[in-house]
C-alpha cells in the first residue's frame, strides 16, 4: 500500500532537480542559482523520505511494474539514491561558491544538476534501455561540463573517448542480451538466462562461445573502463583539468555506476565464474597498482586519482568475488570519503605546514614511561576490535580487521604519539576503534540486504587481502633493495599508462 508513496519519493529525488533546471533557465542569474539550489535540497529531502520508507520496507525487493517504465524499490536502492542526492547537493552548494567569479558558473551548476538525476535514474530503473540511456547521458554530461573550462587542452576529448568506448561495449552487450532473451527488464534476468546459452553467431558462423559469456566479457570490460580500473585509468587523470568540485562528484558518483550495474546484472555474471575471475584478477592488480602509485605521488590530486583507481579495483574485486553487498557499501563509503578529500584538497599547504611544525621528531620531546603504555593500549584495543569484527561480521570482516591492525602498527610508529597525554590518547583511540566496529557492523548489515544466491570466487577477496598485507610488509623490509627503487619509479610514473595510451607515444611522434 505504501509502495506508490515510496515510488513517488524516489522519482521526485531525480525529477525535482530536472524540474528546477527548466524553471531556472527562464529567470535571471541570481534567482537561477536559488532555484537550482532549491531543486537539489528538495531532491535530498525526498530521497531521505524514500530511504526511511525503504528501511520500513525491508530487504525484500519490490518491482513497481508499469510495463516499459518499471522501477526497483528496496532499501539498498533507496540508500544509494540517498547517497547520490546527498553528494550532489553538497557538491552543488560547494561549487556555487567555489566557482564564484567564474563566468561559466551558471552553466556549470546546470550541468551538475543534470548529472546526479542521471545516476539516480540509472539506479532506480529496471529497464535496460533506460539504463543505457542514463549510462550514456553521464558520459555526454561529463564531456559538456569539461568543455566549459577547457582552455586549450585536449583532455575533454580524451575523457570522452574512453567513455564512448565503454558505452559502446555496454550497448553491444545489452543488445545481445535483449535480442536473445526478448526481454528488457533486469529483474527477469534470472528466469530468462537459459536462452543465453546458445552459442554466438556472427554472420551465420557459430563461435564456440555462448552469448552469455560473450556479453559478460563485454560488460566486464565496459565496467572496467567506466570505473577507471588500471590500465584504463588514463581518463581519470585527464579530468583533473576540470574544476575541483567536478572531481568530487566524479570520484563519488560516476566511477561507481558500474558497481550498480554489476549488481543489476549479477545473475548473468554469476553464470560465468571464469570471466568474473579474470575481472577479479584485473581488479586486484588495479587495487595494487593504484595504491602503490598513490603513495609515490607528490601532489594532492594525482594522489586522490590513484587512490580512486585502487579503491575502484577493490570494489570490482568485491563484485567479482560475489560480495555485491560489500561492494555497494564500499561504493557509498568511498563516494563520501573521496568527495570530502577532493573538496578539502586546497588545505594541503596548511596540512603540510602543520606536519612539519608538529609531526616530526623533536629533540626536546617528553619521553615518558607512559609512551610505552600508550603503545600497549593502542595495540590491545586494536586486537579487541579485530576480534570483535571477526566474530560479529558476516564475512568475518577481513577488510576491517586488516585496516585496524595496520592502523595500530602505524600509530605506534609515529613520533607524535610520544607527545600525546594518555587521557586524550585513550579517548581518541576508543573513538577510532568504535568507528571501526560500527563501520564493520554497518557493512555487514549491508551484505545481508543483497541476495545474490551462491556466489562464485568467494575465496578471492581474503586471499588478495592477505597477499596485499604480505606485499606491504615485504616492501617495508626490502625498502632499500633495487627492486623497491624500480617499483617506486614505476609508481611515480603511474606505470606508464599515459605514455602508452596517449597515441603519440612508443616511438617519437613525427608529424612531418
Amino acid at each position: 500500500m505504501k509502495t506508490p508513496f515510496f515510488l513517488a519519493n524516489e522519482l521526485a529525488a531525480f525529477l525535482l532537480p530536472l524540474l528546477a533546471i527548466t524553471f531556472a533557465l527562464a529567470v535571471e542569474s541570481r534567482w537561477r542559482r536559488k532555484i537550482l539550489f532549491g531543486g537539489q535540497l528538495a531532491a535530498l529531502f525526498c530521497a531521505l523520505m524514500g530511504w526511511m520508507l525503504g528501511l520500513m520496507h525491508g530487504a525484500n525487493q519490490t518491482l513497481f511494474d508499469t510495463g516499459f517504465l518499471s522501477w526497483r524499490l528496496d532499501v539498498l536502492t533507496s540508500s544509494i539514491v540517498l547517497g547520490i542526492t546527498f553528494i550532489a547537493a553538497v557538491v552543488f552548494a560547494f561549487s556555487e561558491r567555489y566557482l564564484g567569479g567564474d563566468p561559466s558558473r551558471d552553466k556549470f551548476l546546470c550541468m551538475l544538476s543534470l548529472l546526479a538525476p542521471c545516476a539516480a535514474c540509472l539506479v532506480l530503473t529496471d529497464n535496460l534501455i533506460l539504463a543505457f540511456a542514463c549510462w550514456h547521458l553521464l558520459s555526454i554530461g561529463l564531456l559538456q561540463i569539461m568543455l566549459l573550462n577547457a582552455d586549450s587542452s585536449r583532455s575533454p576529448q580524451t575523457v570522452f573517448k574512453y567513455h564512448l568506448f565503454s558505452d559502446l561495449l555496454f550497448l553491444l552487450a545489452l543488445v545481445l542480451v535483449a535480442s536473445n532473451t526478448q526481454d528488457i527488464g533486469f529483474s527477469h534476468m534470472q528466469a530468462v538466462l537459459p536462452s543465453l546459452n546458445n552459442s554466438l553467431r556472427v554472420f551465420g558462423l557459430a563461435i564456440p562461445v555462448s552469448v552469455g559469456a560473450f556479453a559478460s566479457i563485454l560488460l566486464v570490460l565496459s565496467f572496467s573502463i567506466k570505473s577507471a580500473i588500471f590500465p584504463f585509468n588514463g581518463w581519470l587523470l585527464a579530468t583533473l583539468n576540470a574544476p575541483t568540485p567536478l572531481s568530487g562528484l566524479l570520484h563519488a558518483g560516476v566511477v561507481n555506476v558500474s558497481a550498480v550495474m554489476a549488481w543489476r546484472l549479477a545473475p548473468l555474471l554469476q553464470e560465468h565464474p571464469t570471466v568474473l575471475l579474470a575481472w577479479g584478477l584485473l581488479a586486484a592488480l588495479s587495487a595494487l597498482v593504484g595504491t602503490l602509485c598513490m603513495s609515490a605521488q607528490p601532489d594532492v590530486k594525482k594522489k586522490l586519482v590513484y587512490s580512486t583507481v585502487g579503491q575502484m579495483g577493490f570494489m570490482a574485486l568485491q563484485c567479482a568475488s560475489g560480495a555485491i553487498g560489500a561492494a555497494l557499501f564500499h561504493l557509498l563509503a568511498h563516494g563520501l570519503f573521496k568527495c570530502y578529500m577532493f573538496l578539502q584538497s586546497g588545505s594541503a599547504v596548511a596540512e603540510g605546514l602543520d606536519k612539519r611544525k608538529f609531526g616530526s621528531i623533536q629533540v626536546d620531546a617528553v619521553h615518558s614511561a607512559s609512551s610505552i603504555w600508550s603503545k600497549i593500549f593502542v595495540m590491545a584495543l586494536g586486537a579487541a576490535a579485530s576480534i570483535g569484527l571477526y566474530v560479529l561480521c558476516v564475512n568475518n570482516g577481513f577488510t576491517g580487521i586488516s585496516a585496524a591492525i595496520t592502523a595500530c602498527a602505524l600509530f605506534c610508529g609515529m613520533p607524535a604519539l610520544e607527545r600525546i597525554d594518555f587521557k586524550s590518547l585513550s579517548l581518541f583511540w576508543i573513538a577510532v576503534m568504535g568507528i571501526v566496529l560500527g563501520g564493520g557492523l554497518l557493512s555487514s548489515t549491508f551484505e545481508h540486504l543483497v541476495q545474490v544466491g551462491a556466489s562464485a570466487n568467494q575465496w578471492l577477496l581474503p586471499l588478495v587481502l592477505a597477499l596485499f598485507a604480505l606485499i606491504s610488509i615485504a616492501l617495508q623490509i626490502g625498502r632499500n633493495s633495487s627492486l623497491a627503487k624500480a617499483l617506486y619509479v614505476h609508481s611515480l610514473s603511474g606505470f606508464y599508462v599515459d605514455e602508452i595510451s596517449s597515441g603519440h607515444s612508443i616511438a617519437i611522434a613525427t608529424r612531418q
Binding site: 541570481r30 561558491r97 607528490p298 563509503a333 573538496l343 603540510g352 612539519r356 600525546i420 564493520g440 619509479v489
Partner: protein
C-alpha cells in the same frame, strides 16, 4: 689539472647565474612573498624588459590595445594624457639594437623542423622528478637513497624509468649510469656534446630555464636560501641529458645517423632558412598607452591630495599605528571619522625582526620582510601545564592526520579505512558546506575543553637592553611619533581563510607572509619596558609614563580586531581602549560590508557574511588582498586625510622636518618602497598576462608538496597570483599600473638617497616605478626621470578624484 677543473666549474656557475637572471626566486606557498618575476631585468628599461619577456616566455607585458582603446572611449584615458605620454616616451626613446639572433635549443629546433614534441616530453619528466625530489610532506613513499641533491637523487633512480625506453630511447638505463657522479662535470660533458661553448652557454641554458620557469624559480629560491647549493646546475644537467638522449633517438630515426653534431648544423641552416618568426617590434605603442593610462591616474591622485600642509601637533589621546598595507587605508579612514584618533603607517613588523618559535612547533618562522635575515630567536612560552596540554593536543591532531594519510597509502589499510571512515565523512561534508561558522565554533569548543586558553608570553632574553633600545628608537623615529598620547595601539594584520593554498598571500608581507600579531606584541612589550624607556629618555625621546603601547591584530578578512596582553591600564586608558574597541567594531563592520558587495556572491545570502567567508572551505575569494594597489605615499597623514583612496595606496608616515640626516627617508626608499614595488609588479604582471606570470584559475589548482600549485594533473609550477585575486567575473579588480610613489621630501634629499642606492635608482631611471616628490620648498609636485632630473608636474584643475575601482 685540478685548477682547470675549478675554473671550469666557476665558469659554469657564472653562466648559470647569468642564465637565471630572467627568473626570480619563488617563495613556497607556506610563506608566499610577492615578488617581481622579472626582477633580474630591472637594470634595463621597463618596455625593453617586457619585449624580452615576450621573446623568451611569449608573455604579454601590457594590456591589449583594445583594452586601452576602450579606456580611451570611456574617458579613462584622456587625449591630453596620451599627448603627454607621447612626449615623455619620445624623450625616452633610445636606439634599440636589433635583437640578436636567439639560438634555439636542440629540442626546440627539432620540434620546429620536424613537429616532434620533445620540449613537452622533457618538461613532463622534469616535473615528475622535481616534484618527487622537492616534496617533503605528501608522498608517503620516498625511496631510501643516501643521495644528496637533485642530480644524485635522479641519477640513483632514473635508470629504472621506462618512460624514455617507451619513447624509443633504447639505451636509457646505461646512459644514466654512464653519467659522471657530479652534476658540474656532467653539465660540462653534455654542453660539449651539444657543441655549446663560451659565451653561448648562458644563452643556451636560458632557453632551457624559460621552458619551465615555475620550477626553475622555486629552485632559485632553494639555492638562494642556501638550502640546496647547486640545485639549478643539477636541474640543467638532467634537462640536457634528456634533451641529448631524445635528440639522438630522433636523429637515428629520421636521419639514420648517430652523429648529432652533423645533424645539428643541418638543422640550424634549416631554421635560418625558415626565418626568424616575426618576434620583432610588432607594437611599439603599448608602452605609450600604458604611460597615458598611468598619467591619468597620477593626475587624479595628485589633485586629490591636500597639499596645504600646516604644522599641527598631534594631540590625540589615542594613536594607532597600522601596517603600510593598502588594506589599512580604508580602515584608518573609517576609524578617523568616528573620533579624534590619529593614525600612522609603518611596516607591519614595526622594525623589529625576530625568528619566532611557537609553542610546540619544530619550525621557527621569520617575522620580518625577506630583505632582512633575523638575528634574534624568540620563543613563545606559557605556564608549564598549559604547554603540556597544548603540545598533546597538537600532537593528537597531527597524529590523526598522519595516521589517515599513512593508512590511505597502505595496501593492507587503504580499503578498510575507506569503508570504516567513509560514512563518517558525511558529517563534515554537511557541516562545512552549509554552516561553516557554526562548525568552526563547535570545533573551537571541543578544542577549548581539551586545552586551556593560551596565555602566552614572548621570551625576549635574546635581546640585550641595547638591542631593545635601538629598535625602540628606530621604530619611534620611523613611525614619526613626536607626541605620545595615553594609548598607542600597534596594529599588525593577518587574514583568515580556510582550504586556501594562497592563504599566506593575504597575510602581512612585512612579516614574511605571516600574521602580524606577534610582531605587534614584541614591539609593544619592548616599548613598554621601563628600562628601555629610561634609556630612550637619555637619547632625548621622552615617552611619558602614562602612555601605554598595546598590541592588536587587524583581521583583514572580517575587519575585526584582537587586542593582546594589555598591561595594567589606568582608568583613563581603560576608557579610551573600550571606546576604541567599540569604534573599531563599527568601522570594521561597515568596511567589511562594503567589500562584501564587490566579492563574488553566493545565492545563499547568509554565506556572504565576512565572518562566514573567513572559515568557509568553499570560499574561493575570502577577501581582495592587495588588489587595486597603485601608489605609495610617504608623508604626513594630513596629506591624504581628506581623500577616499579606496584602499589603493600604501601609506607610510613621514615627516621630513624630523628627519634631519635623511636616515628615515633612506630606510623608506630602500625597504618599504622596494617591497611595495615587488607587490605592485606581481599584481601588474599577474594581471597583464595571467597565463605566464599568474597562476591561473584556482578551481583547477593542484597542490604539490606544500610549496606550490600546478594546474591539472601536471604542469609547470605556477608562480604569481590566481585569477580570483584580481578579477570577479569579467570585472578586473586590479588595474595594472606601475607603482606611483609620492614622497613628501626635499628633492635634494631624495637625490642623495638615489645616488647612494643604485638598486632604487634603476627602478626610477628604467621606469619600473614613477617617483614623484611633493617638494616642501614650493609645495609643488615634481616627477623624477632619473637621479637629479626633475620635471615639474602641471595639474589641470578640473581633474576628477581618483577612480574608484578598475574597469578594464
Amino acid at each position: 689539472m685540478k685548477d682547470n677543473k675549478v675554473a671550469l666549474a666557476q665558469n659554469l656557475d657564472d653562466a648559470i647565474s647569468e642564465a637565471t637572471a630572467c627568473i626570480n626566486a619563488f617563495y613556497p606557498l607556506t610563506n608566499f612573498i610577492a615578488c617581481n618575476a622579472l626582477k633580474g631585468w630591472e637594470n634595463i628599461p621597463f618596455a625593453e624588459a617586457m619585449r624580452k619577456s615576450r621573446e623568451l616566455f611569449g608573455a604579454r607585458g601590457f594590456l591589449k590595445l583594445s583594452d586601452y582603446r576602450a579606456m580611451y572611449e570611456t574617458g579613462r584615458i584622456a587625449p591630453q594624457d596620451l599627448e603627454d605620454a607621447f612626449h615623455r616616451s619620445y624623450s625616452d626613446k633610445q636606439e634599440r639594437q636589433p635583437g640578436a639572433f636567439t639560438r634555439l635549443s636542440v629540442s626546440e629546433m627539432l620540434d620546429q623542423v620536424h613537429g616532434t614534441d620533445l620540449v613537452e616530453i622533457i618538461n613532463k619528466q622534469m616535473i615528475k622528478w622535481c616534484g618527487a625530489y622537492l616534496d617533503r610532506t605528501q608522498a608517503q613513499w620516498r625511496p631510501n637513497t643516501k643521495a644528496q641533491g637533485l642530480y644524485a637523487f635522479w641519477k640513483d633512480l632514473a635508470g629504472h624509468d621506462f618512460s624514455m625506453w617507451l619513447r624509443g630511447v633504447w639505451d636509457w638505463s646505461d646512459s644514466v649510469s654512464a653519467l659522471p657522479q657530479h652534476s658540474s662535470l656532467a653539465l660540462n660533458e653534455l654542453l660539449t656534446e651539444l657543441q655549446i661553448q663560451g659565451d653561448v652557454v648562458s644563452q643556451y641554458l636560458q632557453r632551457h630555464i624559460a621552458k619551465l620557469p615555475g620550477f626553475a624559480s622555486h629552485l632559485k629560491w632553494l639555492e638562494a636560501e642556501q638550502m640546496q647549493k647547486g640545485i639549478m646546475r643539477d636541474f640543467l644537467a638532467i634537462r640536457l641529458h634528456y634533451e641529448i638522449m631524445l635528440a639522438n633517438a630522433v636523429c637515428k630515426k629520421l636521419y639514420k645517423s648517430s652523429d648529432l653534431a652533423c645533424v645539428l648544423s643541418l638543422l640550424e641552416t634549416k631554421i635560418a632558412s625558415m626565418g626568424n618568426a616575426d618576434l620583432s617590434d610588432h607594437d611599439d605603442y603599448e608602452p605609450v598607452w600604458q604611460e597615458a593610462y598611468e598619467l591619468n591616474y597620477r593626475n587624479r591622485l595628485l589633485s586629490a591630495l591636500d597639499t596645504k600642509l600646516t604644522v599641527t601637533n598631534d594631540n590625540a589621546a589615542c594613536q594607532l599605528v597600522f601596517c603600510i598595507d593598502v588594506r589599512s587605508e580604508p580602515m584608518r579612514r573609517k576609524l578617523e571619522q568616528l573620533g579624534p584618533y590619529s593614525t600612522y603607517g609603518f611596516a607591519g613588523f614595526f622594525g623589529m625582526a625576530m625568528r619566532l618559535t611557537e609553542i610546540g612547533s619544530a619550525l621557527p618562522i621569520d617575522l620580518c620582510p625577506v630583505l632582512i635575515k633575523p638575528q634574534k630567536q624568540v620563543v613563545e612560552t606559557a605556564a608549564a601545564n598549559t604547554i603540556a596540554k597544548r603540545i598533546s593536543w597538537q600532537a593528537l591532531k597531527v597524529g590523526a592526520l598522519q595516521l589517515k594519510k599513512k593508512l590511505k597509502c597502505n595496501l593492507a589499510g587503504a580499503f578498510g579505512l575507506v569503508e570504516l571512515l567513509g560514512l563518517c565523512s558525511a558529517v563534515p561534508l554537511i557541516a562545512k558546506t552549509f554552516s561553516p561558522l557554526m562548525s568552526k565554533s563547535y570545533w573551537r569548543q571541543i578544542e577549548r575543553s581539551i586545552t586551556e586558553p593560551l596565555d602566552s608570553n614572548l621570551d625576549l632574553s635574546a635581546f640585550s637592553l641595547d638591542d631593545k633600545v635601538s629598535m625602540a628608537a628606530g621604530a619611534i623615529a620611523g613611525i614619526g611619533l613626536a607626541q605620545f598620547g595615553k594609548v598607542v595601539v600597534l596594529c599588525g594584520h593577518k587574514s583568515s581563510s580556510t582550504n586556501n593554498p594562497f592563504a599566506s598571500s593575504l597575510d602581512c608581507g612585512a612579516c614574511g607572509g605571516n600574521g602580524g600579531g606577534y610582531s605587534a606584541r614584541l614591539a609593544a612589550q619592548i616599548l613598554n619596558d621601563k628600562a628601555v624607556r629610561e634609556q630612550l629618555s637619555l637619547k632625548g625621546i621622552n615617552v611619558p609614563s602614562d602612555c601605554v603601547f598595546i598590541a592588536a591584530e587587524h583581521n583583514t578578512t572580517t575587519d575585526e580586531f584582537v587586542f593582546f596582553d594589555a598591561e595594567e591600564l589606568t582608568e583613563m586608558q581603560v576608557a579610551i581602549v573600550s571606546k576604541l574597541k567599540n569604534d573599531l567594531l563599527v568601522a570594521g563592520r561597515s568596511l567589511a560590508m562594503e567589500r562584501a558587495q564587490t566579492l563574488p556572491e553566493s545565492a545563499l545570502d547568509i554565506l556572504n557574511d565576512p565572518a562566514q567567508r573567513a572559515c568557509d572551505w568553499a570560499q574561493i575569494a575570502p577577501e581582495w588582498g592587495l588588489a587595486g594597489n597603485a601608489a605609495f605615499i610617504a608623508g604626513p597623514r594630513q596629506l591624504t586625510k581628506s581623500t577616499d583612496l579606496n584602499g589603493r595606496v600604501f601609506l607610510h608616515s613621514y615627516e621630513y622636518t624630523m628627519d634631519k640626516d635623511d636616515k628615515v627617508l633612506e630606510l623608506i626608499m630602500t625597504a618599504p618602497l622596494v617591497v611595495a614595488q615587488w607587490i605592485n609588479m606581481q599584481y601588474y604582471l599577474s594581471t597583464v598576462d595571467n597565463s605566464v606570470f599568474g597562476s591561473g584559475s584556482k578551481v583547477v589548482h593542484n597542490v604539490i608538496g606544500d610549496f606550490g600549485v600546478m594546474q591539472g594533473a601536471a604542469s609547470d609550477l605556477r608562480i604569481g597570483l590566481p585569477l580570483q585575486s584580481i578579477k570577479n567575473d569579467d570585472q578586473y579588480r586590479h588595474e595594472p599600473l606601475r607603482l606611483l610613489s609620492i614622497l613628501r621630501a626635499p628633492l635634494a634629499s631624495i637625490d642623495r638617497v638615489l645616488a647612494k642606492h643604485a638598486q632604487v635608482r634603476q627602478l626610477v631611471a628604467n621606469r619600473w616605478i614613477r617617483l614623484v616628490s611633493l617638494n616642501p620648498a614650493d609645495n609643488r609636485f615634481y616627477e623624477a626621470d632619473d637621479c637629479g632630473k626633475w620635471r615639474q608636474i602641471e595639474l589641470n584643475p578640473h581633474i576628477l578624484s581618483p577612480s574608484p575601482v578598475a574597469h578594464c
